[in-house]
Point group: C2
Amino acid sequence: MSAQTNPLIDDGLIEFLLYDVLNAESLCELEGYEHHSRETFDLFLDSVRRLARHDLLPTYKPMDEELPEFRDGRIVTHPSLPHLWRKMVEVGVLTGTRPEAVGGQQIPMLVHMMATAYLMAANLSAYGYIGLTLGAAHLIEAFGSDEVKERFMAPMYEGEWTGTMALTEPHAGSSLADITTTAAPTEDGYYLIKGSKIFISGADHDVTENVVNLALARIEGAPSGTKGISLFAVPRLRPENGELVSNDVTVAGLIHKIGWRGLPSLALEFGDVGDCRGWLVGEPHQGLRYMFQMMNEARIMIGVNGAATASAAYHEARTYALERKQGRRLGDRGADQVPIVEHADVRRMLLRQKAIVEGSFALLGTAARYADVANRGPESERERAHLLLDLLTPIAKTFPAERGFEANALAIQVHGGYGYTSEYLPEAYMRDQKLNTLHEGTSGIQSMDLLGRKVVAKGGAPLRALAEEIALAVTEARAAGCDAELCDAVEQATDRVVSITMELGQRGMAGDTDGMLGHSWDYLDMMATLVVAWQWLRMAAAARTRFKDEPTQQARLHGTEAAAQYWIRTEVPRISVLAELCRTAEDSYLKAQPDWF
Amino acid sequence: MSAQTNPLIDDGLIEFLLYDVLNAESLCELEGYEHHSRETFDLFLDSVRRLARHDLLPTYKPMDEELPEFRDGRIVTHPSLPHLWRKMVEVGVLTGTRPEAVGGQQIPMLVHMMATAYLMAANLSAYGYIGLTLGAAHLIEAFGSDEVKERFMAPMYEGEWTGTMALTEPHAGSSLADITTTAAPTEDGYYLIKGSKIFISGADHDVTENVVNLALARIEGAPSGTKGISLFAVPRLRPENGELVSNDVTVAGLIHKIGWRGLPSLALEFGDVGDCRGWLVGEPHQGLRYMFQMMNEARIMIGVNGAATASAAYHEARTYALERKQGRRLGDRGADQVPIVEHADVRRMLLRQKAIVEGSFALLGTAARYADVANRGPESERERAHLLLDLLTPIAKTFPAERGFEANALAIQVHGGYGYTSEYLPEAYMRDQKLNTLHEGTSGIQSMDLLGRKVVAKGGAPLRALAEEIALAVTEARAAGCDAELCDAVEQATDRVVSITMELGQRGMAGDTDGMLGHSWDYLDMMATLVVAWQWLRMAAAARTRFKDEPTQQARLHGTEAAAQYWIRTEVPRISVLAELCRTAEDSYLKAQPDWF
């Protein structure tokens, strides 16, 4: 299969999720979305899809092979990027979700997510410039002064400049409390920034003329730890007397990443010659709080990266399995060779990929819908939607990344020996995918966030809301005539998850931190298994309701039901194993000492 | 950590496995091993280890980066290879296990395996030339005529030429019944070979002057299917009048593999100009039978590749976690940053890697010991050892490859963002590892072999023998004072596996193939989980017996016990989930039609 014919994501799936499962049309009733309709959604989707397939995908492999170069202090990126950037800006994905007041189209997050997923599936690196710029500009939009907005947000939203998130430092990594970059106030309103950053994606390139780094730094004299960190806009070039002049931001090194190769990851030095200016965003010492308020969005985008990357690989594997002839059905020695999809183990690998990919998109869409309701829904629904969004975020970030990686490995396996070569695409998708378990908070950090903060917030309200949502889905699935065994299994698993969560929460309140959080990884795995089962039950119910009597949709109906059955019958039983590990607080690695390894 | 300081494999582990768990010294009582002793074993191990660390490891990264080239019809390989090849031949790994009659040292397989594992951990590609040559020469040793031995086996065992296995053809892949390469008899004793092969590792290079391809082909008029396939020695150059002349074996292409980059994988054409000569090995039409008789050895070697690759990555992660400081213990905000091994989730990832790596080596060592007894043990023990070896082979091949891949991904994860760069080694080990689930029979094929052939052979005798071995280990663990809960868990899991196997076997006998084999993947997963638990129980018992009163070995004792606890308490509970899937023959992917995907 050539890259050019890969659909990237199944259009029918997206249509089904948007309109049959997640009721996207009803979002048009929310404040600010009134000018939208299914027609405007579909127009947006179609134009983004076309861009993904016709422009982004053909550049994917070249961009993976022709790496960025570090030359004379600057980074030279792939020559196709300026064109792709302009096309993406033109089609409206950069400001799609933003308010009209800042030049946006006020498209629901849900619809924007499903559209941009195609761009990610086509070329993660190219879309990365959009994602980073949107994140940086949105931070300024939310917290910056009018002057900072005018100076830095506006050119980003206009697609003139790109943005970055400059958080990580060489010695600190995930531990943001330990950053040491400093900011010295001046009398001219700006600060002088000094320090080193690492893993800053897109901090230099030749896609646009300038880059705005949203950087964390400590104002001199600030309190230590997380409470003394402020947020600054630190451009590569600063506007001065109508021109852009150097702002003393130096590229110290180009990191050789194993994937996302069109988007350079850099080590930066701020203030090598003492002339790096930063403009404070919002109030001093609030930098981490600002960042974390935007974190849901960034983490969910990583989840979409994961689902999209797994989807592109799944479609490669699917087409290969349908076309490649090898072997025979068991006990059928004399016959011609059959397409490998006829072998049960190949079907197992495909159905597992399908369950992971489509389950991820449903979960992500559900989270995006809660975000829309939290932002623009009726006042009475906002808090509940926000709690559910907060609860689902670490799962929606981690599940597509971790299981997506597994799905990517299966796509290689379906290709046999050919999958082990760079003549085929799956190995590149697998390399791309691995980043998603690391950036924007590693999987381990997500699991601590889920169990240590999210499920126990507000006296357990998010968990209760989730249990109600799942109960509702079970009721609807029963009404739609779904397999009762599957409904029962999800219902029982929910009870098990609720009861173990309450037990763990009680331990935490009693001060037994290890007893509560020791198996947070297994807890995340368990919770993810459950919420994906919930999604599959919803999809099975919607498919039955919608397609039962439609002759042309029988394959979609049966495929959805088979994947729902697969997930609920093969994965949900693991929930009791994982709950038991949480309950017993099995202590092998908790007690392990460094010299035991 | 620099590559040069990675121990690759823990020497203490190997010593413990050989002498405390697997009683390698007792092998010196077997026929043909009488000239050996712990001293000769240790001398061999030490010299191979040294070679691995001092010569092979420093070339690993260069060989991954500087790829073989296809130039003027020949393959140019890495310049360090001829030196490494000679060193490996000199240290005796090529003929280590072979009889003195063919120039070998008659070292037990068990000891040879543990020694060569270091070479694989240091540089899989470089060792690959040894593994392939040994496999090819051994095939001729076992089945070839004296003339063929003299002509082709002798120069291989002398290290003058290398060998390959030339099985796969472009259209056939795993389906060997479909190969179409032909062999036309001539009056001069040789055959004229014509056909295409693909994925032939090491079929051309500049390491030695010649290569002998052990190729499968059909003699004209042979029966169709697997019963008409013969085995030929098809050298790149053939000896003629005291010189080596071209044998019409052409390199048609160099495959761009994502790992094992020092060992080129090639597409070959035999007989482009009608002058490719092959010499029949053994009897006509017996090629597949011969191959399969050598398959155990090859498959177990892949398992060692897997364990070794996971081990090298584990040691990178272990050292990184001990040295890299980041963050603090929970609730300890004011303190200095701590090494990341202090974080529970990092310890989880390390302990999981340790459980997989060391469990794999124990399993592989157990299989190798059965091979030694099967070959040279008392007549009364041989058959039982052979059955156990046959049963364990698909597991010993697949578990280290599949779980080793997971361990390799965890080694990246422990490194955080740095793990995603080619500045660190784990990403390369992960690429290397992926091949092991594909070559020498994919994981899916191994699972069919295990359930469809191995466990049900001879009326279930292998399964009964395995259950006896596990029962013995449980008894010994209880006597050594191991945790009773762990002993009970392994005992109960064994009962569950035996009973579900009998049920599946009955279905097979009743003709219900899908009901028997539909979940063969889950069956393999279940069986692997059990046999690795068995190994961990043996290791825990041996560690208690051996180290309980040794003050300097307390860390090893506790580390072994923690890993045993981890595996048995976190993985063994999955056995009942997997058994239930086998029992119910959950049919989601069995019934799935091609258009459902």
